[in-house]
Amino acid sequence: MNTEDIIDTLAGIEPGSALDAIRAHRLQARENAQKSYLSLFEPIDASEFSLAERAAVAAFVTGLHGESPVASFYREKLAATTDGAALVEAILVEIERGRTSGPYGAFPAGPLSIENKAGLIYRVSAERKPELGARLVAAFEHAHLLVFRPRDAASADMKALLAAGWSTTGIVTLSQLVAFLSFQLRVVSGLRTLAAANA
């Protein structure tokens, strides 16, 4: 089991630094953000969502946020998996196709409709579908929805994942993984920005 704190590593927080001391005041949060990472990427049971699939979705999601130490970390993680290494190039192409700015999407019809904002509805390109396979194609399209337009999510999106072979438990873990990365990327980015402002 990996014991180094992944947020500290990705944010470049050195032991004994001011931010290290601040993070020590939220020790439960720090330790459980780490446990969340481990339970998603070194799970007890990967039968519903394989390690290579987890790494592939993570590389895609973090890449959609732009290049960063977090994105390169998950890309390397993917390259290190037996089944995932061959997918790195295809995923880089899909990241370029999917990159945009969010959040956008539609609110429930009513007074909020004036805030509706149209944007890219991402679909995996036809030429890369055979390489990624039905499960990852559905996972990437769902992950893009969650990254950029979470308010557009609908029950039909659950049906699309189930139809592509995802179990209900697998959907829960997939959702947690995409949502957790949304958190981890922001904590790392926020802490790096704060550290730079102090430098």
Binding site: L19, I22, N32, A33, S101, P103, L146, I171
Partner: protein
């Protein structure tokens, strides 16, 4: 399930229900591994937690992260302003359910119910005074993709009187709601 749903069309501080689009575990099937994941046994009554407990390890770690970021107020940012960061993030991402819960908490702890309601009604650009504006703006910058939080946000938070430990609480609170919003928005929907 969807026949019983009466989705709210506006942001509100009222108590809402939340209905899952996929099957939660039945209460009768929960094992000790699941109860460990729920952290609080009473959560077995909640459809949301009985769905998330399908992956008990990540639910447990996430719940403990949440509790420390929001409830550990021995130092750092006052609870009201952590809740403000959560409510502003939810307003911006469009999570009516999360916004209802955390706007309510922000109102309770700040006693500024009308200001909180204005955030819900008018959106994240509304004027709430220097300190709250800085927290809302930082939360929104963190929620944007690509992430837009930068040195200007840090400077603005400092001008509003926040020290680095408090700024870390803003970062944690706002970042955490990018996790929470995506679960609540994608696995089910709110109901009045």
């Amino acid at each position: 399930m969807s026949t019983a749903v009466n989705p709210p069309a506006v942001f509100t501080q009222d108590e809402l229900d939340w209905v899952s689009w996929i099957d939660p575990l039945p209460e009768a099937e929960l094992t000790e591994r699941h109860f460990a994941g729920l952290v609080d046994r009473a959560r077995a009554k909640s459809e949301y937690f009985r769905l998330l407990v399908r992956d008990p390890e990540v639910l447990e770690a996430r719940t403990r992260t949440d509790k420390d970021i929001f409830y550990n107020v021995a130092d750092g940012l006052p609870r009201a302003e952590r809740e403000l960061a959560a409510a502003a993030t939810s307003r911006y991402n469009g999570c009516i359910y999360c916004a209802s819960v955390h706007a309510r908490f922000a109102s309770t702890y700040s006693k500024r119910r009308d200001d909180v309601q204005r955030l819900l009604d008018k959106g994240v650009g509304t004027d709430l005074g220097e300190r709250w504006n800085a927290i809302v703006k930082a939360s929104v910058a963190l929620a944007a993709t690509p992430i837009a939080f930068g040195p200007d946000n840090v400077e603005e938070l400092r001008r509003a009187g926040l020290d680095d430990a408090e700024i870390v609480d803003v970062i944690n609170g706002a970042s955490f709601f990018n996790w929470a919003n995506r679960l609540m928005l994608s696995l089910g929907e709110p109901s009045k």
